[in-house]
Symmetry: C2
Subunit: 523 residues, 2 copies
C-alpha cells in the first residue's frame, strides 16, 4: 500500500484521486475559493501552483481571477505568484508578499482587513460571499490534509485556519493529501461552531484543554477530486534578533518580574501570545533563559523560537492556530523530534484560537509589534503612512482587546535612506488607528517601558514621551505636546489635546525631506 493509500482511510475516495492537472477544469473566472492554511502553514500548494502554471502558459493573466478566502497569509509561491499573474480580485483577511501588496496598493486587488476571529465567523455566516439567494457560498474549497479518516474526517496539516467555516458553505471540495511530510494526526482539536442563537460555550480553562475532535467532519459527496502533494510549507525565514530587539525584550522581562513581585502575575506568568518578527523572537529567546518556569502559550502562530522554549524546560504547553516554522531548520527539527513536541502542542481552528472567550478567560499576556504608536497610545498596525497596506491587522486586535495585559513593542525609531533615525515610531497622532487608547496597557521600546494602566490621556502622553521616545525625538514630541496642551486647555477642549492643523507635520516632513525631524511646529 502506498503512503497515499494508507493516508486515505475513507476508501471510496480512492477513486477520486486524479493528477493535479485534471483539477484545472473546475476553476472558472470570478469564483470564490476557500483554502486551508494560516500564516505560511497548512495551505494547498499543488493545485495553486498548477493553476498559476496554467495561466502563465496560456497567457490568461487577468482572465482567470478569483476571490480568495483563507485563514491568513499563505506561502509566496501561491498567493504572491497569483498576484503577479493578476489572478486575484478579492483577498480576505490578511496577506504577505511584495506583489500582492503592490496589487492592493495600486488598486487592482481588493483586500478586506478584519479581526481574524470576526473573519472566521462572518465567513461562516455567509457575510462575504452571498449567492443570488443571499446565502454564503464558496465555489471550491481546496484543503490540504494529512489524512482522511474512515468517516471522511479531514485530518489537517500544520494549521487549522478556517477549514470548518469554508466546508460549511462550500459547493465543491478538492483535497490535497500531503504525503511529503509526516502526518499531524492527533495534534488538532476541532470544534465546528454553531451559529447564534445555538452557539455553545468553549470550555477551555487552560491552554492544554481539549474540547473537540482530531479531524474536521466533511461531506464525502461534495469532494470532487483528491490529489497527492509532496510540497512542504514555504515557512517564513527566521527573523534574527539585534541589539534593539534584545533591549526591548529585556524591558519586558524586567516588567514581568516586577509584576510577579507585586502579586499581579503568578510565578509562571499567564498564557503568552506573541506575534511574529525579531522582537517576538527576542522575547521568547529571553524567556528561554529567564527565571519563569511552567509557562504556557495560547496564541495563533508558533514559530521556531517556541521549540527553543520547549527545549529549555520552561514551556509546558502551547495552543495555536498554526505551527508556522521556517522551511529550514524549523520543520526538519520538528519532524525529527515529533514525539517530543507532539503532545505538548494543540492546533485549534481560528474561530477558537482567536476567540475573545478563551483569551479573556485565560488572561493572556498579548505582545505585538505595531508600525507606530502615538502619544495617547493609539497604534497603527496596518497602513504605512496611513494609506499603504502591509499585511493586515491579523489577530492582534483579538488578543490585545481581550488580554490580561496588552503590550505593544517597537523600536523607538527606524532608518530612512538619509537619516539613521529618520522615522520615529512614537508620533503625535497615528495616521491610521487599529488599536485604540482604550485597549493598550503597556508600550515598550528599547528606550524603556511605559506602564499606562490607570493613567489619564495627558499623564499617558508624558509617560510615553519620557519612557518610549528616541532621544532625537523627545524634545520635538515634548514641544508638540506642550503646545497642544496650552492651546486646547485654554479653550476648554483639552481632555486629549491635538492640533489638527499640524498633527501630521512629521509625516509630511518625511515625504518631503526624508526625515520626521521637523524643525519647528509652526503651521
Amino acid at each position: 500500500m502506498s503512503t497515499l493509500e494508507s493516508r486515505i482511510r475513507r476508501k471510496s475516495l480512492l477513486k477520486k484521486v486524479v493528477p493535479v492537472e485534471d483539477t484545472i477544469q473546475y476553476f472558472k473566472n470570478g469564483m470564490n475559493l476557500g483554502w486551508s492554511g494560516f500564516t505560511p502553514a497548512g495551505y494547498p500548494k499543488a493545485i495553486p501552483i498548477a493553476l498559476a502554471d496554467h495561466v502563465e502558459k496560456n497567457n490568461l493573466q487577468g482572465k482567470l481571477r478569483f476571490n480568495l478566502f483563507i485563514g491568513a497569509s499563505v506561502g509566496a509561491e501561491t498567493e504572491n505568484r497569483w498576484a503577479q499573474l493578476d489572478m486575484i480580485d478579492r483577498r480576505w483577511p490578511y496577506q504577505t508578499g511584495k506583489d500582492i501588496a503592490k496589487g492592493i496598493n495600486e488598486g487592482r486587488i481588493r483586500m478586506g482587513d478584519r479581526h481574524l476571529s470576526l473573519f472566521a465567523q462572518d465567513l461562516g455566516y455567509g457575510f462575504y460571499t452571498k449567492d443570488e439567494t443571499g446565502k454564503g457560498k464558496i465555489d471550491i474549497a481546496i484543503i490540504e490534509v494529512s489524512a482522511v479518516t474512515e468517516d471522511c474526517g479531514l485530518v489537517l496539516t500544520s494549521s487549522c485556519g478556517v477549514v470548518g467555516e469554508i466546508l460549511a458553505i462550500a459547493d465543491k471540495i478538492i483535497l490535497e493529501v500531503n504525503t511529503g511530510q509526516p502526518s499531524f494526526e492527533g495534534m488538532h482539536d476541532i470544534v465546528m461552531s454553531q451559529d447564534p442563537p445555538h452557539r455553545q460555550p468553549y470550555l477551555i480553562s487552560k491552554a492544554s484543554d481539549r474540547i473537540g475532535t482530531t479531524y474536521v467532519p466533511c461531506d464525502p459527496d461534495r469532494i470532487i477530486a483528491v490529489v497527492e502533494s509532496k510540497h512542504r510549507d514555504k515557512g517564513r525565514a527566521f527573523a534574527e534578533q539585534d541589539d534593539t530587539s534584545e533591549a526591548i525584550a529585556a524591558n519586558i522581562l524586567d516588567f514581568f518580574a516586577h509584576e510577579v513581585k507585586a502579586g499581579r502575575l503568578p510565578k509562571n506568568l499567564l498564557p503568552l501570545q506573541s506575534g511574529v518578527g525579531s522582537i517576538a523572537n527576542a522575547v521568547v529567546g529571553g524567556l528561554a533563559k529567564g527565571p519563569f518556569y511552567n509557562l504556557s502559550v495560547y496564541t495563533e502562530v508558533l514559530q521556531d523560537t517556541m521549540l527553543d522554549l520547549f527545549d529549555s524546560g520552561r514551556l509546558d504547553f502551547a495552543s495555536s492556530c498554526s505551527l508556522s516554522l521556517s522551511e529550514t531548520p524549523g520543520f526538519p527539527r520538528f519532524f525529527d523530534n515529533m514525539d517530543k513536541y507532539k503532545d505538548k502542542i494543540v492546533l485549534r481552528p481560528l474561530s477558537i484560537a482567536n476567540a475573545p472567550e478563551p483569551i479573556r478567560r485565560l488572561g493572556c499576556i498579548a505582545m505585538n509589534t505595531p508600525i507606530e504608536f502615538d502619544i495617547y497610545a493609539h497604534a497603527n498596525s496596518t497602513l504605512v503612512g496611513g494609506t499603504r497596506m502591509i499585511n493586515g491587522i491579523g489577530g492582534s486586535g483579538d488578543f490585545l482587546r481581550n488580554a490580561y495585559l496588552s503590550i505593544m513593542h517597537t523600536p523607538s525609531a527606524r532608518p530612512t535612506k538619509t537619516d539613521p533615525t529618520g522615522i520615529t515610531c512614537v508620533v503625535p497622532k497615528a495616521p491610521h488607528i487599529d488599536h485604540t487608547e482604550h485597549d493598550l496597557d503597556v508600550l515598550v521600546t528599547e528606550q524603556g517601558l511605559a506602564d499606562l494602566r490607570g493613567l489619564a490621556p495627558k499623564d499617558r502622553a508624558q509617560e510615553i514621551i519620557n519612557k518610549c521616545a528616541h532621544p532625537d525625538y523627545k524634545p520635538i514630541l515634548q514641544e508638540y505636546f506642550d503646545l497642544a496642551k496650552k492651546t486646547c486647555l485654554a479653550k476648554g477642549i483639552g481632555h486629549e489635546p491635538q492640533l489638527f492643523d499640524r498633527c501630521f507635520k512629521m509625516q509630511m516632513n518625511l515625504a518631503a525631506k526624508g526625515t520626521m525631524k521637523v524643525d519647528n511646529w509652526d503651521i
Copy 2:
C-alpha cells in the same frame, strides 16, 4: 419593625446604623472611593450629597478631593455637584454632566476612558489603585442596597455595576439602604469573577440564563457604617424621537426584515443591544410596532422604551447591567407594575453584562450612536472635534466588537448656530477613533443604510458616501475621495487613500467659519 429593620436581615449590622452626617469623618482628601451604580441607577445618594453639603458649608472646595471609581455615570446631584465643588481628582471610566465635562476638558479632572468590561476586571486586578505594596486598594466603598441577607449578602438596587470588584479591594464599606423605593431582591444574578488563571466559563447561552446568586457576598467586618436613604435615582429624562430618528429607525427595521428574508437572521432576530438617546428610543419604539416577536435583549442599560416593548407583547426577556428609567414617568410605572416586569428582567454585573464571551456567543445585534464616522468606517464616540470629552466610550466597544451585527446610527448632519446642516457626521477622516474599520458592519443615517460586510475600503467609502452622507455634503465628500484615490493610487500607496495635508480641512473650516462645508479641497 421599621422598613429599615426589615431590610437589614443581618441583625448584627443594626448597631452600625448611623445618621448620614456621622459618616463624613471617614472621608479624607486623596482617597480612592468605589461606588455602586451604573448610568444614573443604583448609585449612593445620601452620603455623596451630605459630603457635598459639608464641603460647601465649610468652604473645602479643592481641599477634599477624591478618586472616583464607579461602573459608569451616576446622577448629576452627586458626581456633577462634586465636580462643581472641585471634589474630584480622578474619575474612571465614564461620566455625565456639564460641570464634570468642563473640569475634564479644562484639565482639573483626570478621566480614564476604558471599555467598560475591561474597566471592571482591571479595577478588580488592582491596576488603577495600587497601594504601596502594589495591591489594588479602594479606601471606602459606598454601596446602595435594597436589603442585606442573613449571611451579609448585599441585595442591590437598580444596577449591578462593579460592586463585586470594589468589595474585593475595599478597606472599608458603607451601605446606603434605600427604603424610599421597593426592594429589587430577586432581579440580580451575581457572579464573583475569579482572576486568571482561575476564571471559569460564564455559562449563559440565552439572555434569561441565570448563573449566580441574587446578592453580592460581603465581609461584615469591613462594614463600618450603615445609613438609611430615601432618595430615588435621578434618572435620565426621556429623549424624544423626531423625524430624523424615526427615519433612521425605519432604515434599520427594513434591514432586519431583509436579513430575516435572506436567512441570515432568525425570525425573532438575535438578542438586541441598544444604546441611549433618541435614535435608540426610535428603534425600540419601531420594534414595539413591528413584525418581530419573541425578541430578547442582552444589553447594559434598559430605558423607558423597553417597558413599551414588553407591553407590546414582543419582548420575552431582557438582560442588563442597569434599569435606568426616567425619574418620572419611568420608575413609578415600573414600581406600579413590578410583578409584571420582574421575572422578565435580570440585572448582571458589568463584568458579565459587557463580557465579550456571552455577547459573542449569543450573537447580539449591537446598535450605538457615534459623534461621527468617516468614509472608511472608523467612528468617533468620545471626543468632539477630536479633543473634547463628552461622556466616554462606555460599553459601545464591548458590544460592537463582539456582536453578530455591529450597527452605528447617527443623523447625517447637525446644525451649527449659522447653518442648519453646518456639521456633517460623515467625514473624510474621524479626528478621534474609538471603533475601527475592522469592527463595524453597518452604518445608518436618515439618508440610508450602508451594508459594509465584505467590502474593501474604497468600495466601503463609495457606499458610505452614496448611502449615508447628507446631500449638502455628498459632492464635497466625493470630491475629496476622488482626489485622494487619484493621488494615492498614482503613487502605489492607495489601499485606503487619504490626504494628510487636508483630511481635517472640514474640522478647521468649522472652527473658522461655523460650517464644515469647505469651498474646495485646495491646501
